[in-house]
């Protein structure tokens, strides 16, 4: 196994709202190795995106990281000064968002934007900078890159814009890219192209990725490890194939069984009743208890994270036995 | 019947948020208080300033605190005709508020309807209405009001007409912008696919959803109307001298300013400023709450 790149331990991010404390991220821990792609899945409001932002220290009031540690190759990021954090962002960790138009400046050509991203972290001659940009644009599948450097974001299609955003994220050869729903806004045929490309790029560059998505199938197509989040907590994790073959948490199992692929056409789908509880004022009980078909008296207390080999589950009644 | 459960209506949510701003709440109380005083003026003032026969010339131009011949104290002094300033202010406010609210209401209804109709129908109708409004907005409102007031002569309705003409365009413009956004939303398409009639879609669905920006414009425009009315009256283009509004009170006292009789102009001026500032403070809070971009 390669070396550990990122260790997240007991990370908790809360939002102080008018109606009370919203526990968006609640005691999240995981480890990411160099070059590894980890998938972070969950429904809206599960805390998956806030987890991504918290790692980069990008939490604005009323949100606040209240506990935990995030170590990048042993260096603690929580509590690091803003200038130091800025040096980490973009150079060592970069981010790709769902909507590339939020990260690309509409009035600057992409060449200018890419050079600015480079110059933020090192001094390069114009030629050297352009060569780097063209190289990265070629790698993400943008043909005729030299000419496209002069293009503005609106001159690209949605899929191409997302490729440019990915190219900018790759520019400084970061050790980690956090991708927040990078293909959700794209067409299915374009999504497939980008998924395949990202997988190859991660291998070529040795870049680790945290791939955040609500879509189990896209995450599973790129990631090797899966983290399933529910109501601010990681409720299950493990190697993708293993976890999808035998999901141990009733929520993961329910989610997989509810996909139309798992029923014959026209027959009712297996559905999880109810909806996710409000993250404000979560009680001591398991957050899934009201929707779970396995729940009993034990579930009135929050289950601890239990492990079995590379698998973790936060449930009193996991499907298979042998849990510690 | 059993009482219905407390429903979290948008209005209630809005009020709870409004209440938490002490400044805005204070301003609202001031506005309500001033309006209440103005409405109740005939019953609470010691003197009817419009009843010329009751005025005693001997009491003219007396300083604040002077006990007049009728036996009551003129807390804010008297003017050149022997009017009690406090009574004159309350009656003046009554006239100012009455005129600006009437003008504001008419301008609101007219402007909102025009704007929503333009946005709903689009095409030529939209171009025609919005070009006229753009043309009108390119002139300063005060200039338009001045010309109209001069043309129409003195009196309540000419003044209201001048104010409406000067202000409806702001409402129309705002409504048009908001309505054009609402027009393209799914719930309007849902109403069209039911189908519901054009007038129902405009008045039942589009207009109520344009209310937030309109309310903001309305508070600003009411304050503007009060100021505009005061300006016109100050210039002698407003109401007849027998029914002095705040602007005219200020104008009447102006000539005595240099002789040290400041109270005739200053106190009506202060009343005017307090009212306008309070309305604007309320309007600011309303705007902050209704503008999603300023939220959180």
């Amino acid at each position: 196994m390669s070396r550990i790149l990122l260790e997240v331990e007991g990370l908790s991010t809360h939002f102080m709202t008018r109606n009370g404390v919203l526990k968006a991220v609640n005691d999240v821990s995981f480890t990411l190795h160099e070059g590894e792609i980890i998938g972070l899945v969950g429904e809206s409001g599960s805390g998956k995106s806030v987890t991504g932002f918290s790692i980069l220290g990008l939490v604005d009031p009323p949100g606040k990281i209240v506990a935990g540690s995030v170590r990048l190759q042993g260096r603690e990021l929580i509590g690091m000064s803003e200038p130091d954090l800025r040096a980490v962002r973009g150079r060592e960790i970069s981010m790709v968002f769902q909507d590339p138009s939020t990260t690309l400046n509409p009035v600057l050509s992409i060449g200018t934007q890419m050079r600015l991203a480079l110059e933020a972290h090192e001094t390069l001659s114009r030629q050297a900078a352009d060569a780097r940009c063209i190289d990265v644009l070629n790698k993400v599948g943008i043909p005729d890159a030299a000419r496209r450097l002069g293009y503005f974001p609106h001159q690209f299609s949605g899929g191409m814009r997302q490729r440019v955003a990915i190219a900018i994220a790759l520019l400084n050869h970061p050790k980690l890219i956090i991708c927040d729903e990078p293909t959700t806004a794209l067409d299915v045929s374009i999504q497939a192209q980008i998924l395949l490309q990202m997988k190859t790029l991660a291998q070529d560059f040795g870049t680790a990725m945290i791939w955040i998505s609500h879509d189990l199938s896209t995450v599973s197509s790129v990631a090797s490890q899966l983290l399933v989040m529910y109501a601010g907590r990681i409720i299950e994790s493990g190697p993708v194939r293993d976890l999808l073959r035998v999901p141990d948490h009733p929520y993961t199992r329910g989610l997989l069984n509810s996909l139309p692929d798992h029923a014959s056409p026209g027959q009712p789908l297996v559905q999880i009743p109810g909806q996710m509880p409000s993250l404000i004022g979560l009680g001591a009980e398991c957050a899934f208890v009201s929707r779970c078909n396995q729940s009993d008296a034990l579930c009135q207390t929050s289950p601890a994270l239990r492990s079995k080999g590379a698998r973790r589950v936060r449930c009193h009644h996991p499907v298979a036995g042998d849990w510690q | 019947m059993s009482n219905r459960p407390q429903v979290e209506t948008p209005a209630r949510v809005f009020w709870n948020e409004f209440r938490s701003s002490h400044l805005a709440l204070g301003a609202l109380i001031v506005v309500v208080l001033i309006i209440a005083l103005a409405v109740l003026a005939p019953w609470i003032t010691p003197q009817d300033p419009y009843e010329l026969s009751k005025l005693v010339l001997m009491d003219a131009r007396r300083p604040p605190g002077y006990v007049g011949s009728a036996g009551f104290t003129h807390w804010l002094g008297t003017d050149a005709q022997g009017r009690d300033i406090l009574s004159a202010i309350l009656y003046g406010l009554r006239v100012s508020i009455q005129i600006s609210l009437t003008a504001g209401f008419i301008a609101f209804s007219l402007g909102a309807t025009l704007g929503a109709v333009a946005a709903y129908f689009g095409g030529r109708i939209e171009t025609l209405i919005m070009r006229i409004i753009d043309l009108q907005l390119s002139f300063p409102a005060i200039l338009l009001a001045l010309v109209l007031a001069a043309l129409l002569g003195q009196g309540k309705w000419p003044l209201i007409t001048a104010l409406v003409t000067a202000q409806y365009a702001y409402f129309a413009r705002t409504t048009h912008g908001a309505a054009a956004t609402e027009r393209s939303k799914d719930y309007i398409e849902a109403a069209l696919s039911t189908p519901l009639s054009a007038s129902r879609v405009v008045f039942r669905h589009i207009l109520p959803n344009c209310l937030p920006p309109l309310i903001v414009v309305a508070t600003v425009q009411i304050a503007n109307a009060i100021a505009l009315e005061a300006t016109l009256s100050f210039l002698g283009l407003g109401l007849p001298v027998t029914e002095p509004s705040l602007g005219m009170l200020i104008a009447n006292g102006f000539q005595y300013m240099l002789s040290g009789r400041y109270w005739i102009s200053i106190y009506p001026g202060i009343a005017l400023i307090v009212l306008i500032v309070a309305i604007n403070l309320v309007g600011d809070q309303v705007r902050d709450q209704l503008n999603p971009r300023l939220k959180r």
Partner: protein, 346 residues
Amino acid sequence: MLLAQAPIMTDRPLLRVSKASKQFAPALSFGDHIAGWLGQEVDQRIVHAVDGVSLDLHRGEVLGLVGESGCGKSTLGRMMAGIYPPSQGTVQLDGVPVMGAGKKPLKTTTRIQMVFQDPFASLDPRVRIGETIGEGPLVHGLVDPANVGAYVAQWLETVGLPAEAADRFPHQFSGGQRQRVAIARALAMQPDVLICDEPVASLDVSIQAQIINLFLTLKQTLNLTMLFISHDLGVIRHMTDRVAVMYLGRIVESGPTLQVYDHPQHPYTRALLDSIPRLVTEGDELVVFKAIEGELPSPLAPPAGCHFHLRCPFVQERCKTVVPDFSDHPSLPLSGRHVACYFPIS
């Protein structure tokens, strides 16, 4: 079984789309008009959203309309729902046009209703749920004012919401519950045809299954005829009897859903089916998918000939100039397969 659910065959379709097209031309600004008068060429930027589509919807069937974003499926759905008039061609319900004539035509029937994608946008935020559902039926005399409360309660119950929901506002509900309200509003008009435009796309995965199950139940209990628009091939396969695949404004293939999925004949259908990552175990690979090469062409300037020819692996000279067409035969038998391709995959 699927056969048991097969729609009743009738000769005449309930809803017929004949060679319908829709172009959107953004309104020219005043400056553009002046430039036009002065002889300047003005860029019209016409979007060809739907291009000569013929489609039949038969009583009792669920027809799927699948395609990527920008392929015109939503526009076609809105034409069938009587929200947009077609630029060319007709949309007829039982032989009668869905929309009136004239420059600003209005929908003339209440028998077609629509459910929209985003339940946060499709409900008027200032109107109580009960009024939203009851408004249409009241206006069109489906219920009298004395009974509207009970009528609304009945439809709320049908979609799985408590009767008390009528007193609340949309913002007090979650996405799934709002979509139930939107379905209740459409059903309360007692439509013959329900057009559903991506009704589960904006919902969370665990909620999607709830709404799909609701549609399945409603279809059986109310014998609904539905057009189900989606980009999600899994949902379409699960929900529909027949499917039409759209690419850049045209229908490229149609046929019974399972046949089309198991044996796609158009290269695009094939590529689309292959490009979706699906959690199906095949051999050692857990997730299998292949990407389609190239970009989606812009609907502002669609390519000549077959719209797919730029990305098609089997392209020949003829594909680049002549449009392969099956819209000449509007009355197609229900069970038939149709493919707009010179070189279909056999």
